[in-house]
Subunit: 319 residues, 2 copies
């Protein structure tokens, strides 16, 4: 029988999962709603059934060797989702322990950005790298950091919170309760805030003046920038500047071979990659200049999260 | 015969070295001048002779199994001292290769802060830790970062340059050519600059008004703070605030168990530890609060550098 694993990506709205072999081939994929489950038990019931159904479709040719799960605030060491603001289940959810009653095989949990880094390392653009960083630019800014070929979890499993380094003293209010965190400027929601700041400060005509705060998305801003909208272009430039400056600091600490940008905001391409690179180089210590690549993910977004979670558990199984 | 290593600490003025066994016992120690040698070859000649002399005194009971060297800008991967501003030998010095012609045994080089971290891990306060950071507060600010029990060297061997993260945009001129680097504020020289800024800004009487910039040392400032000198106390508070804020960022990335402060400025004790701790906690993301210790080094300064370099090579030999 062919050994496979299940890779699960728990998002606030949907949970995606797939059956993946060691080479990253996805045999079957599906998803269930996360948001409709107020109760973790009914959620896990449905998830377990859905995974068994996928396996059954392969008619007994597959042996499930392990399960990897990426989830917001997932703690690798403890197997617990801890106080995830965007999930219905509050407090500490011992996900690995709970899921073991459905599948008595190795199950490992980590946060979504670490899973993205593992996916990049096993199946994406970081296949031959031992030192690199993956930055996910979605609602927030997540980071998965790899040193010596291993994800940096730190003493308590919570390393890699680059979204919460302080970039502007007493800056924008962050969801974490503090002010001036990187993700309040550099993320899909951060750039929306920057656009509104610019709409207030400047008089330039802009396509974006017709869209409300709640409706404006990073994709709208990217579309406007493609049409040379000055507010949109300036917003990307400001976002890239803050990102680039922070990347220079992170390079000084980690000296990575490459930094991968991933997720919503990264899809804007040159609008974000160009200023990020320019300002990173400008702020870099001389010994690091022209050495560190800023790259798009080598995985397509649709299966990257599932592949990342699969990579997580394969890495455990293969040692 | 007892297996021992030589630990060598190359400083701008002196080079200290010792014969050290696996348990960190120092059998013999000595030093030679670094500064008087304009030529690397005459320097290495003298150093090799001095090490052989130490071994000879042990009357053939010791077998030299390896040599560990800590030096400013020492690159672990390449074995090269690269453009060290405080050494006489300019450009790229292939130290390991050159020294191999004297001792045909394993020789490893790293920078002084990484050596300090290895010393702390093998013989000091980090003996049971796998994730911690050592910060050396001397003329500059150096950092040795340990993740999963291994020093973070990064892709090209230059990781751990915490002294050169930018803390104040367009801030003080740094020796690296950029502005606002952490070490221009937080180091033995940084606090001298802060005192002079305060002497200009304020009218408080101060013992420090009688000392010129070139003569003022961190030790003078510490002595003045002990006498409740307001300028000195304020300077420590400002230094600790910037350090604490930066530590919070570094904790978000690495989630270390502890941070060790080491070197000149760390000798000021509570004057620097207290504000560093207060402001670190104030800026920490909630999941890290009250978890991360800020500790003095567990090694005495006199032999810490030699033990660190010895730890470096023992770590290689023992695997």
């Amino acid at each position: 029988m062919k050994k496979v694993v299940a890779g699960i990506d728990i998002g606030g709205t949907f949970t995606k999962f797939g059956i993946v072999d060691q080479d990253g081939k996805v045999y079957a994929e599906s998803s269930i709603s996360t948001a409709k489950h107020q109760d973790i038990d009914t959620y896990l019931d449905q998830l377990a059934r859905a995974i068994r159904k996928l396996l059954k479709e392969e008619e007994g040719r597959m042996e499930l060797a392990g399960i990897g799960i990426g989830a917001p605030n997932g703690n690798y060491y403890r197997g617990i989702i801890e106080y995830a603001p965007n999930l219905n289940w509050k407090g500490m959810i011992p996900l690995v322990e709970l899921f073991k009653s459905y599948f008595d095989i190795p199950i490992v949990l980590t946060n979504d950005a670490n899973a993205a880094a593992l996916g990049e390392m096993m199946y994406g653009g970081a296949r031959n790298m031992t030192d690199f960083i993956v930055i996910t630019l979605g609602t927030g800014l997540g980071s998965g950091i790899v040193v010596n070929g291993r994800v940096v979890y730190g003493h308590d499993g919570f390393a890699g919170e680059m979204g919460h380094i302080t970039v502007i003293e007493n800056g924008r209010q962050c969801g974490c309760g503090r002010k001036g965190c990187l993700e309040t400027y550099v993320s899909a929601t951060g750039i929306v805030r920057t656009v509104f700041e610019l709409l207030a400060l400047r008089n330039d005509e802009s396509l974006l003046r017709k869209i409300s705060f709640d409706k404006l998305s990073a994709r709208d801003i990217s579309a406007a920038a493609n049409k040379a909208d000055r507010i949109a272009m300036k917003a990307f430039e400001m976002t890239g500047r803050i990102l680039g400056r922070s990347l220079a600091d992170v390079v000084a600490l980690f000296s990575p071979e490459a930094i991968f940008l991933f997720g919503g905001l990264a899809n804007a391409g040159d609008h974000i990659f160009k200023p990020a690179k320019t300002y990173m180089e400008k702020h870099l210590l001389n010994i690091f200049r022209d050495k560190v690549k800023i790259l798009p993910s080598g995985l397509t977004e649709t299966n990257a999260a599932v592949l990342g979670s699969a990579g997580l558990i394969w890495k455990e199984i293969l040692g």
